[in-house]
């Protein structure tokens, strides 16, 4: 397997949700305005789905969990006091719901295929540098990398996996992650450090085997 190039600037993670103020929409949705809630769903659906998917590595489960998250949020909307951002509150619902799901289906095998990667992944220069240039082997390498990475993530505990997904995949800051998970920032940092250590070890093994 070709040695990867020297680490360049890290690809910028998905920026934290700096988006239009949700409060007017939330106020209308609390009064029963479904059009306002529809707009809230559109604003946050990708992130909530992403969290559910990266925690479960399963598209079907992620679909159900994401829908259930928004249904729960609608029913609990009247109790939302606005002391936190709406997306932080939504994330928390999704996180708790996924935790409950994972506890009941702990032994489920991740179900994933190469089609789950979008077009840009195959042509990402960093990804290309990590796997073979040969098209068929590169495709296989991508698939192997994807499956192996997700398997490594599933070996982490739900809390460690969540921290890695929220920070390194979705780009949330430590402060927001602490609010979502109901812990302090120090706990977030220590969990993140441990999870990265475990995954780094996996990556080294993967490269040796490739």
């Amino acid at each position: 397997m070709k040695e990867p190039s020297a680490p360049s600037d890290l690809p910028a993670p998905t920026p934290s949700p700096e988006q239009p103020d949700d409060r007017p929409l939330v106020a209308r949705a609390k009064e029963g305005d479904l059009a306002a809630y529809d707009e809230l769903v559109r604003r946050h659906q990708q992130r909530i789905y992403g969290l559910c998917y990266h925690l479960t590595s399963n598209h079907e489960d992620a679909n159900d969990l994401a829908q259930d998250t928004f249904m729960k949020a609608w029913k609990a909307l009247k109790g939302f006091k606005g002391d936190a951002n709406f997306y932080t509150w939504l994330y928390r619902i999704a996180y708790n719901h996924c935790l409950n799901h994972l506890k009941t289906r702990r032994n489920r095998t991740p179900h994933l295929s190469l089609d789950d990667m979008d077009f840009n992944a195959e042509h990402d220069p960093e990804m290309v540098a990590l796997v073979s240039h040969n098209t068929p082997r590169r495709a296989a390498g991508l698939g192997e990398l994807q499956k192996s990475l997700n398997a490594a993530l599933l070996r982490l505990s739900e809390e460690h996996r969540t921290v890695v997904v929220l920070h390194d995949v979705q780009g949330l800051p430590h402060e927001e992650i602490a609010k979502i998970m109901g812990c302090n920032q120090g706990t977030v940092r220590s969990r993140l450090f441990y999870a990265r250590q475990q995954l780094q070890a996996w990556l080294s093994d993967f490269k040796k085997q490739s």
Binding site: P7, Q45, Y53, D116, L130, Q146, L203, S204
Partner: protein, 172 residues
Amino acid sequence: MSQPSEDFSEIRRVLAWKRHETPPPGYFNSFSAKIIARIESEQLAAPPTWWEHLLAPLNWQRGLLGANILICAGAGIVGVAAYNAARPVAGDDGVALSETPASLLYPESRAGLRTSFTPTGSATDGALGLASFGASLPGTTYQGTNDHTAPAGLFSLPGMNDLQPRFVMPTH
């Protein structure tokens, strides 16, 4: 197994590629519509109670205020109506109107006055305007005629026209 290093740049790069793991194209186009459809179906399945329906346009605070206003207004109306029903209403002659029909119909019922009206009548009766009431001036005996009975329909009690008031002054 290699020793883990604290340089996590490579693994962070690999993890960032997970952003490319997306659902099939067009998945999010209908996602919110499915959520709204589920909400609406659940709302249809559980119709609101009549109380919820009544207060639905109002928040609970305005509903409570409106209820208080209605209760106070209703209490006021009932109170005024009860007061009016119990209070006696006076007529122009100082005699309670409620007494007038009985006193005219049954002169004996008036305290301290014995009346006996014999309808023989006199010319002065009409001038004095007393004939219809069967009254008489002191010292006179009024004897009216049948014409001095109460006009038909003045007092609507059954059998009224058959009753001839008798007003007899004691003779000296």
